[in-house]
């Protein structure tokens, strides 16, 4: 059609130009730059906050989980010449001399920390180091000019210095980085010659703990989905005045302290609790055989389900709210019985919400700490409790960091699997 037209100038390469002869693309970018800068300035505080208070600690965590430099500072001379030893028989005099001098120079605190680290590699190192330090100190007080023989003296101080296993265990500590904490987290350790071996049977706890943590998270997620899906459906389909009331019931837990809720469950579920009393009164169980529902696996699962249920209901609800009732009608009109219509037309449309809920609940559950701490008893403990223990009591920050990193990796892997299977773009948080 030959309507009115204006000649748009183009450059030699065929790009469109604006009236002043600049390429159109460049002009567009210039006009958008200001807006981009404003947007950037607005998100900057959040980015900085995230980096300083989340990103940096995670980076530190990762460093700590592999860091093994402490011991290299305590025993510099020993490690300097360690390589010269063939490792077949006990090391020669120079090695004992280096060890003697390192221990003599180290402060008490250094010996304390160092020997703790050494104990991870081989038990009894701690007592050996402390005893030796004490004896050397006394010896040097008596004779400040002591100059050997070192091997003999050390063997005299403690006959364990003649045990080649202690000397072998130093090999693994020499490297400033170690995978030892990660091995530890899976009940493994370095044996002689650096091969990876299992911990002795009585020291294997973490593998069961990981499996239990995953199991609890799976059970809790599945239970939340099974309980939450119908509630979310009801919330999305009830008339407004009823659904508002129901929504308040769903949100109520958020307004109540976590501790209050846990204590309430203790009152309900303990041996002399409301549930057991009722069951006994109804003669469902004998007074002697009251059900153990608290301070164990069951207690942890029940309480966690109650606490995490809203995290499932809310994203599922928000997706269901957007599904027009016309779809179910259309499906039935096209010949599908209600159950088929529900499964083939309604449920697939709720999957984005289900995905979000499942991921949310699972991720929160896998790192749970307070609930198992309070109601978990012995067989309801999760990995989070041990991370806390190593941070606060045993002060094995390396192991705590390694466990934290493994947890983080597990979540990222889950996230990746979810993305491959469902697609992360499909997830709707609300």
């Amino acid at each position: 059609m030959a309507a009115n037209a204006i000649e748009i100038p183009t450059s030699a390469s065929g790009e469109l130009l604006t009236a002043d002869g600049r390429p159109l693309k460049e002009s567009l970018q210039r006009s958008l730059r200001r807006r981009k800068l404003t947007a950037l300035a607005l998100v900057a505080p959040a980015v900085v906050f995230l980096f300083v208070l989340f990103g940096m600690p995670v980076l530190y965590l990762m460093t700590w989980s592999v860091d093994d430099t402490l011991i290299n500072e305590v025993l510099p001379r020993t490690f300097d010449i360690y390589e010269q030893w063939d490792g077949e028989a006990l090391p020669p005099e120079p090695h004992y001399e280096a060890m003697f001098k390192d221990i003599a120079d180290a402060t008490g605190i250094q010996i304390g920390r160092g020997s703790t680290r050494m104990n991870y590699a081989k038990s009894k190192w701690k007592s050996l180091m402390k005893k030796t330090k004490r004896k050397i100190k006394a010896l040097l007080n008596e004779n400040p000019d002591f100059a050997g023989p070192y091997k003999e003296t050390l063997l005299e101080i403690d006959k364990r210095w003649g045990d080649i296993a202690f000397w072998h265990s130093l090999d693994i500590m020499k490297n400033p980085y170690t995978a030892g904490y990660y091995l530890n987290a899976f009940d493994l350790k370095y044996g002689f010659d650096n091969e990876i071996i299992q911990q002795p049977e009585n020291r294997r706890i973490y593998k069961t703990l990981w499996i239990r943590t995953l199991l609890i998270s799976f059970i809790v997620t599945a239970a939340c989905l099974a309980l939450g899906y119908p509630v979310a459906h009801l919330l999305a389909t009830l008339p407004l005045r009823y659904s508002n009331l129901l929504m308040i019931c769903v949100l109520m837990p958020f307004w109540t302290s976590l501790l209050v809720r846990i204590v309430a469950w203790m009152i309900m579920l303990q041996q002399e609790g409301v549930v057991n009393d009722t069951l006994v009164a109804l003669h469902v169980v004998d007074d002697e055989n009251r059900l153990p529902m608290m301070y164990n696996f069951t207690g942890t699962v029940i309480v966690m389900v109650q606490i995490l249920l809203p995290f499932m209901i809310l994203p599922v609800y928000s997706v269901m709210k957007g599904i027009s009732p016309a779809y179910m009608k259309a499906a039935q009109n096209l010949g599908a019985p209600p159950a088929i219509a529900f499964l083939r037309v309604y449920v697939p449309q709720t999957l984005p919400g289900v995905g979000a809920g499942v991921i949310l609940v699972f991720i929160v559950a896998i790192g749970y700490f307070i609930t198992p701490e309070l109601v978990g008893g012995k067989d309801g403990q999760m990995i989070g409790n041990y991370i806390a223990r190593h941070l606060r009591s045993t002060l094995n920050w390396g192991l705590a960091s390694a466990m934290g990193v493994i947890l983080l990796a597990a979540i990222l892997i889950l996230y990746w699997v979810y993305d491959r299977v469902v697609g992360i773009d499909n997830m709707k948080m609300g």
Binding site: A330, Q332, N333, L351
Partner: protein, 381 residues
Amino acid sequence: MSNPGAATPPTGSPAAANAEAAYVRFDNVQKSYDGVTLVVKSLDLDIAKGEFLTMLGPSGSGKTTCLMMLAGFEPATHGEIFLDARPINKVPPHKRGIGMVFQNYALFPHMTVEENLAFPLEVRRMSRDEARQRVAKALEMVELPGFGGRRPAQLSGGQQQRVAVARALVFEPALVLMDEPLGALDKQLREQMQYEIKHIHENLGVTVVYVTHDQSEALTMSDRIAVFDDGIIQQLSTPDELYERPRNSFVAHFIGENNTLHGAVTEARNGECRVAVDGGGEVSALAVNVEGVNTRTTLSLRPERAEINPASTDGLNTLEGRVEELIYLGDHIRTRLTVAGHDDFIVKVPNTHAHRRLKVGEAATIAWLTEDCRALDPISK
């Protein structure tokens, strides 16, 4: 407002005698949602096989409720609905075998176009090969071959509409319901789709019950139109009959453009009556819906049937008026006049070679034939 329907019992096709032939039959159906008011007051309606019947009415008139009862999504509070002489009140929606096009199409967003179309065939356990053939055929029918792999969200409104129509027809139902299917489309597309749906109906011979509030859509597409108001069918007629011979004031007002004059009947005989118009003058009209001499009536006159300043007024009814506004519309000039105290009297003056140019403020004589003016039930104004 008085109820204009009360004076006229809704009559459609010869009801009782034809009962066996009716494909869909509403027998004294009533519907209430809250137990206080009736949304559908008393519905008797026969729909013949292969017919295109439109339920037309303002929102809240009960037309969609009737459709939902027929589809099985709403139970009738009273009365019985028959499909092919079989009572279906207790038949669940998925066993009725009725196709339906929903207002916003209700295409399943998580399925491709092909999967959407195959859905009714799959739940009927049709073999995969046959289903594929039917789907391809249906897509061809709505002129969308090659779109089978797309998701509904990747289609334009008009394309979604076609898919919705194809899905309602793919399992070859004998009855298809359409609930304002073109409401979301722009005007041009809507008109095009009206013809396409009409042609599909003609080619397949299915029975269509169509719900709309758009009268031009109803006039274009339907074999018969049921005009709903206040839960009652006000008139059930063919489009031309509905436009030219409305039975009551509501229909006259609702369908097309309409001039109303109020007055009292002074004389009635041979199906005609003399009416003394409020504001002066006496005219003749067809006595369509008047109760007798000395009762109030509303006169209905279509804007294209009145003439301004005719050469001769022999045999015509005339009233004096004054030109208030002239709107140039190309093929005709829409002239607004004050007649008998109403300033909204419209006359369409054809833009012919010889027409006289009017001026605003000019006095004019309006004239019309008796048979074009219908005396209907009174509406207060």
